[in-house]
Symmetry: C2
Subunit: 251 residues, 2 copies
């Protein structure tokens, strides 16, 4: 394990923060190319067939998809286990990860953060008010109701910190960036759990970095990494100038 | 492991066939509730928060999401390993599973099979010709080009049969049901690999069952299972009469 590891992708992405948080827990030193997801140059498709971030590069090994990457980290790195020890709990934790990566991000990411923050900036379009209202008023409350039911009164989702927490928590920051919050009166356990993950784990510092990156133009982002003690990637710089959506990006 | 295992979900779903193929490889006896995905009664949300299939029930253990379930099978059952032994190959195989579950099914399932076969039947709507044309003429060829590049001349994707094959192959049947085929002149390795998976693995029989179920009304589907030597679930029958989409279903 002497090859340096490069992570390609902006920590604004909750999927990138998931992987960086896992690296922090496992004490894996990484270099970061903080490429915003829609600015990847053409050749990026050779690294990431779906043009998604993050990408993990370690010598001649290139891996895509945050869930694949964290599982690879778990299987190849020493340090605290990222999943619960019991197989049933582990399966339930992986379902939380799947729920976060698809349903939560579908609503909090694509329907709210994308529509309200990214679409106007990167694609010059207006946000779709009907999509936003339905997401905010109907879909998100149903999601928070479900999550309230699986969140414990104290501690983390499966007792010790696991990838269930580090997968589920990151997208809430993107919600806050567009004024979507977890109301602690309506969802008290969810709100309290989120605060624990954001103050007691490596996600806290990563979120602070992501907030700064949200307000930083692409060419100045590498300097921001260094302010947080992170290392910009020297061998990779995939950011181009022309916004280009990936195959899974809403049009 | 003396509790009987029930799988809820129609084998028309490629995700259900993935799990049933894994059960066949591991020689796990299962009972099946062949519920079509859009007919789940209300209480189904308590079992499957996203109203997706398949669901795995084994005593008091309920697990959702096909990827979660196959990983649970791998971790708890003896028999041939469902993933390659090398961690890098295992990660690459999991990326193929992710690609199949999201991108391939997004196009072959939601944009083609759903629009052309399910939408008119279950929801009474007309198919969206623009979505269908773009999927067939642009998106699917790009997907097949990528897959042609990762498919070997012979054998399976990672040498021995693995979940990469059993995840990727099932959705092609749904394509054929709406006259979408892999042209063997344009994608010869992909077409030949698909034929191997469909003739040399348990997916073959499951595909034959699925083709029959596609032409069988819901109330007669349990009898079809028995024709294929499979056991209908006695403790579960989730099929209702009113089509109701899940949160991830296109409207």
């Amino acid at each position: 394990m002497t090859e340096p590891v490069t992570i390609i992708g902006s920590p604004v992405s909750p999927y990138v923060r998931k992987v960086l948080a896992a690296c922090a827990v496992k004490r894996i030193a990484v270099e970061i190319d903080p490429m915003p997801p829609f600015l990847a140059r053409d050749g990026f498709t050779d690294l990431s067939p779906l043009r998604r971030i993050p990408v993990w590069i370690e010598g001649d090994v290139t891996l895509c998809d945050s869930s694949v990457i964290v599982q690879y980290i778990e299987e190849t790195r020493p340090g605290p286990s990222l999943w619960p020890a019991d197989p049933v709990e582990r399966a339930k934790a992986r379902f939380i990860e799947e729920f976060a990566d698809t349903r939560l991000f579908d609503v909090l990411g694509w329907k709210l953060y994308f529509q309200l923050a990214l679409k106007p900036i990167f694609f010059g379009g207006e946000s779709d008010a009907a999509v936003v209202e339905r997401a905010r008023e109907t879909e998100l409350p149903a999601i928070f109701d479900y999550l309230e039911g699986v969140t414990p009164e104290s501690g983390f989702l499966f007792g010790e910190l696991s990838l269930a927490d580090l997968s589920l928590a990151p997208a809430f920051l993107n919600g806050r960036a567009v004024q979507v919050n977890v109301d602690p009166e309506r969802w008290p356990r969810l709100a309290a759990w989120l605060e624990r993950v954001e103050t007691e784990t490596p996600l806290g510092e990563l979120n602070k970095l992501a907030r700064k990156l949200m307000r930083t133009p692409p060419h100045a982002q590498r300097a921001r990494l260094e302010e947080f003690g992170l290392t910009p990637a020297t061998a990779h710089d995939w950011a181009g100038d022309v916004p280009r959506p990936g195959p899974m990006t809403p049009q």
